[in-house]
Amino acid sequence: MDSGITSASPKLKAATSGFVLAAALTVVCNTALACVKDTSAPLKNFMKSLTDHDWTTHGLVDLFLFVGLGFLFTKSRMTEQMNPSRLIGVLVFAVAGGVLGLALWYAIV
């Protein structure tokens, strides 16, 4: 059966590559913020003061970071020149590193 899959030049749209890089950076920042707020009571209190709970603020920071960086990278077209395979590798590595970082952090702390 023909699946219809063909191979063309593997390029991604500016919006796709922009938001992929934004997602990778957001995931890394998510882990970093989780670790930093645990070690910094003033930061945790500040985040708590914004939405009544530091977790809520944390989620909103991630959301704004993803959307903001995504539009920034899309508009600047800076990710268009990136090799798609490398971009996918960056995303997978960021997610694996972010997840492992969270698990290690809370296993130690």
């Binding site: 219809g4 899959i5 063909t6 938001f19 809520t56 995504g70 798609p84 997840v99």
Partner: protein
Amino acid sequence: MTNISNSDVILLAHAAFGVTGCLAALWVFVETLSARPANAGRIQTAAVITTLMMTAGWICGGYWYVHFYPAEKALILGGPWPFAHNFFMETKEHLFFVAAVLAFLLPITTRESLHSNSAARTLVLSVSGLIVVTGLSVEAAGAIIDHGVKVALLQDALKGAHSWIPGSPQRLRN
């Protein structure tokens, strides 16, 4: 007599939305393995369902976590499985954001011509696969947290005391 509180409904809804989001991501993954013009619309629909389910899970789970979890946290920390909070809940509540960001990314990636672009196919397979893995990890952590509450309540029932719960009658008497 049945007594289902709002807390129970919200708690179960957040897990149900999360599992449905994972299933929708799995649907995207399987359809993308045989991407062709005919199933492009289905892939995009499944990707949007993934996003909507994860968003609903975020709202329900977030509301429950902020408003109802503190009481369960006290139970877990006083019970035999404190790691259910210290490790699993702490990791879960931040790991969820990873799954959520990927769920927001998925519909953007499925707008590519997947049948003709091998890089886009690899990307969608990677993103949807990561959503399934991280989403199911979050679900598994939720089950362990739930069991942490259960063993704490069982221990408490066997002891017949609630002295470690702040504000409990036993504690106030002491």
